[in-house]
Structure formats: structure tokens, C-alpha cells
Symmetry: C2
Subunit: 204 residues, 2 copies
Amino acid sequence: MHKGMLVVVSGPSGAGKGTICQEIRKRNPNLFYSISATTREKRVGEIDGVHYYFIDRQQFEKMIANDEFLEWADVYGNYYGTPKKPVFEALARGQDVILEIDIKGARQVKKTYPEGVFVFILPPSISILEERLRKRGTEREEIIVKRMQMAWEEIANCDWYDYLILNDDLETAVNDLEAVLTAEKLKPKRVNYRVLLEGGVLIR
Amino acid sequence: MHKGMLVVVSGPSGAGKGTICQEIRKRNPNLFYSISATTREKRVGEIDGVHYYFIDRQQFEKMIANDEFLEWADVYGNYYGTPKKPVFEALARGQDVILEIDIKGARQVKKTYPEGVFVFILPPSISILEERLRKRGTEREEIIVKRMQMAWEEIANCDWYDYLILNDDLETAVNDLEAVLTAEKLKPKRVNYRVLLEGGVLIR
């Protein structure tokens, strides 16, 4: 097992997982934040290497062929994926990693890395979810309709996740995610203590 | 499954589980704190019905015969036990219950109530453990020696617990236990939400 812990934060588009992850990173600057690669167009304000690695389809498909993704998907005609290398390097050096990905991606990671901790972010209501998607103003109507249908299905099938966090209040949701991180580190398989027989000292 | 959650806090005698439970109850006044029954003598400052129910051997043995204990044990010649009735009543009405018991007791509860959450409190060091036991001044030397031997064995076999909390700093240990309570309530089996199809509203 890796020394670090992989936390996968997922949920319907618009549930607020991005904002929650942003806050948790502020509170835990030692968390390694995995940056996804994508072929979709940059949105206003997005920076390459910060929000995503924006790469072209040819490059992405080469990485798929070389098995360089922890998970990847073709979402509404655009590729999204998590490069394996930086994640595994961080885990190997004992750093915890947070992955913010869509639900199909989370299912893939569950298969390739079942030791991960899987967190599902629930929107406070379906109407708020729809409102948030519309406010973004970046999606066409048919994509919003598609996403809303998907959201229903996703919420109905979220029981395989380890934790469900209801995002009706950002502060509470972030506190919940932080409690998950703290509690998971206390599981016997992750407690990195050694009993020194000479001194009888337990070391974290 | 009961609506409430049973949290069992255990660990070697002197690891500080009593103090931790006291603090967690201050922070979470809604937690139902199970009071044990015992046949041992009252220590200075202890109050019947607050620290323990102090009952006589005959009464205790009658309760054993009637299967009225969630767990019980004969420890160094004294009976200790957790009456089932108040615990199950609290769980049934949706209240979370915290049980502070010794390790043999925790093993019994694991068998009779496996849905519980089992937390093991680790002392910061074996020498500090010994020091704490001696400071109490209530035990004879042979009992201290016995307890130290037991502590070693217990620490070596604590891997079956759900969580291990190192009590090297009280504040951190209490925060850890609080994180466990918060995180466990986020598990799908415990999330008490309903999806109202009409409104699409998720309710905690």
C-alpha cells in the first residue's frame, strides 16, 4: 500500500465539489491536488496547469494508448483524464492526494485503486443544481438537460461511495470532508505507529 | 439497523479514555452516555448513577442470568457490565450512544453489536501509562503489574478496531474522536436522506 491516501471527491456536475475542494486545499496546504488533463476549451479565467492541463486530442489519445491515465472519459465530445504519474509519486512519498472528478471517473478509480476513499457530494436540491448549471452560462440547453438526467441517475446510485456529503452549507460540507480526512487517517491500516519495545514509546 | 450509532471507546487502563469521553460529551451534549454497573467499591469522588451504578454481587448475577447485559466481565474480582436496556432504547429513538469500556467488553460488544464503531485509545507511551496508573494510588502493586502486562498485549492486538487514537495530546485526541463521529454519520448506511421526487429536495 502507498503511504499517502487517495481521496476521490465526486458528485453531479453543479453539486459544488469544486468549491469544496478549493476550501479543503486552503485548510490543508499539504494535500496534493491532482490536476486533470482535458481537450475541452478553456473557460474564461481558467489557467493551463492550474485548473487543467489543456492538451489536444492527438496528445490525449497517445497518453491513453500508453496507459498513462488513472481514469479518463469522453464527456460530451471532450476528453478528461487524470494522469497516473504525479498521483502515484505523491502517494509514494507519503502525501495525501485529493482528486476531484466526475462519477464515471470515480467508478474507474474504484476499480484501479480500491484503497482510495470515495466521497460523493450531494446538491441540496435538484432545482438548485439546475440553477447552478444555468448560472454558469457556459453550457447549451441540451447539455443542461442531459446533465440533469444524469444527476438523477447518479444520486440514485451513490450508495457504493464511502461517504455522502450534503452541500447545503459550504462551511458544514468542508468541515464534513475534513472530518473524513482526519478519521480515515485513524484507521489501523493507515496508522503509521511503531511500538518501540525498548522505550515503550508509540510514535505517530 | 437502529437509527442511532453506537460508539465504543476502549483501550488500556490508564490510556485516558475516561478524560476523552468526558470532553466529547461536553462538546456533544446530545450523546447518550451509557453508565456501567459494577460491584467494585466506590473511589473517592465517584457518585452512584453518574460514574457507575454501584450494585451488589447478588443483583449483578441476577442480571447476568436474565441476559440483561450488552457485555460484562469479572475484572480482578469485581463485576463490570453495560445494561442493554438504556443503550438500545437510546439507539431506537435515534440518539447516538458512547460506551467507554475495557477491551474484553469491547470484544463482546463487537460480537453482539457488530454495527458499532470501535475506537481504541493508545497511550503516548508505556512509561506514561505506568505513571498514570501509579498516580491514581488506588491500585495495589500486583494489580499495576498485571495491568501493564495486559496493556502490552492489548496494544499488540488492537488492529480489529475501526479507529486508533493516540492520546499524546488531549485536545488532538478529542478532535480525532469528534472527526470519527462526524465521518461515520456520513456513511451511506447512516445518511438519513430522502429524495422527494416532487421537489427534488434532499433532506438530512
